[in-house]
């Protein structure tokens, strides 16, 4: 009788141990999920911190407008009446063209800095994660397996089309570079907004950052990742990758993995993985 009672107790203990080990596996997965979400949000914050991305978008659009108006001004000096101002108009045009190139270089430099920051944030997250160690149960530190940047397939940028330059506005409408929004017409994103004629060699691409509506900027957020368009793989299978982004990315996708090992009841090794996507905050209203 005593032996049977002990046997029943032993069976119950084994069942409890099994349940506990499963609970720990679930717990560690949930823990990884929350760390991965945290990292995705930290990375997304880097993409448009202090609205740098939104400001660069506005700068690109303004420099485009400047090139267009400078070219129009230069063309007018072909006229006999303004021929004396041609050299001055040529100088203005040259400056606005070099200004557009400067803005593009600055945009590229900003993207590079952002990507470096993302890599640093991911490495810091790995370094600060020590894993979990119980006597018969352990999890390894969470590893950032994949890190991708891109956008959520939004076709609009935060930049409002200027109606002040009539010719440019009608050209943009003709080329479908602008779309009517609730409050104003907005430029499309991730498209080279080429200028007509001699200035078509210049590149003007806007990032897909949502603009403010009713004075409210879109906050930083997690998303389901449905529709995420990858533009650069910063890390693949745990290996850092190299590459360049044409535009400022507005979303980031983080894949984290962790090994779970338990020997409470037999040996059990498994790998748990989570994928999280976060969107950068939207642009602020232009002052």
């Amino acid at each position: 009788m005593l032996f049977l009672c002990i046997a029943v107790l032993a069976v119950m203990l084994v069942i409890v141990a099994l349940a506990f080990s499963f609970y720990l596996v679930f717990f560690s997965h949930k823990n990884l999920q929350s760390r991965s979400e945290d990292l995705a949000l930290k990375c997304a914050r880097q993409l448009n911190e202090n609205d740098h991305g939104g400001k660069i978008n506005n700068l690109i659009a303004h420099s485009r407008e400047l090139v267009f108006t400078s070219r129009e001004l230069y063309r007018r000096t072909d006229n006999e009446e303004f021929r004396g101002l041609q050299s001055l108009a040529a100088q203005v045009l040259e400056q606005s063209r070099s200004g557009a190139l400067l803005v593009k270089d600055e945009r590229n430099r900003y993207v590079e800095v952002c990507l470096q920051n993302l890599k640093k944030v991911a490495k810091d997250a790995e370094r600060n994660d020590a894993g979990l160690f119980l006597s018969k149960f352990s999890t390894s530190a969470g590893e950032v397996v994949d890190l991708r940047v891109g956008d959520m397939g939004q076709t609009l940028s935060n930049v409002e089309a200027s109606s002040g330059v009539y010719n440019l506005n009608s050209y943009d409408r003709q080329q479908n570079f602008v779309k009517p929004g609730k409050e104003a017409e907005l430029f499309v994103s991730n498209v080279n907004l080429k200028l007509p004629g001699e200035d078509s060699d210049l590149e003007f691409q806007l990032a897909s950052l949502p603009g403010p509506v009713k004075g409210i900027a879109a906050p930083l957020r997690l998303t389901r990742g449905k529709g995420f368009k990858n533009s650069l793989v910063l890390r693949s299978a745990g290996q850092d990758g190299n590459g360049k982004c044409q535009v400022i990315p507005s979303a980031v996708q983080v894949t984290m993995a962790m090994n779970v090992k338990q020997s409470i009841v037999g040996e059990f090794d498994s790998k748990t993985k989570t994928v999280n996507t976060a969107c950068a905050n939207g642009a602020w209203a232009e002052p």
Partner: protein
Amino acid sequence: MAHGLNPRAGGGNFMKISNAKILPSRRRRLRTQTGSSQITEFGAAIFLLFSCIVIPLLDLSIVPVRLGLGKSLVNHRVHQLAQSECLSDAFKSLQESDFHNGLTKIGGFSAKATQLSLVATSVKNPDVSMKVDRPGALPNDWLPGGNKGPCLYRLDLSVDAEIEPLITAKVPGLHIPGLTRPIPFHLSEESNWENMGCDPLSGEFFVNK
């Protein structure tokens, strides 16, 4: 001794023989009196141990496991839905997804009804809240920038489910949850709504679109 033999008078060998013969019979007599009753009780005790403790415990111990798994699935799903682009997306993906089947795959878990709703709670007065169960139903006062604002927006997923124990003894006319029928449970999980932005094309808030 009963025959008047004195062991001191050379009857030692006889005593040895007689002890060897008598003692086992005594032992047998003792077993017959108490041991046999123990053997009889043993069967009944084992039966009681298994039928009243081990089997019911095993039978019911699966219920919290299933409940935990179901709760975890509902929590994961509502967290996913709260990350949708807009509220109508969340409702649509819940309808299109195989959520009920996912719950059924746990085994012994049957979801009877599912309800998704958005709960807006005023930060100024946390006792006041507004619950809507379809997109576009949130009044303007409860939207960001509205009179009741600022508000906290949470997506709530409620599931009415029945969880079966390991063995259900189906007795017609007798409805005892956990014994003759599954145990009814009401699971409700919440997650904060993520997309607090506004659609630049329509001007609608994604939380109400």
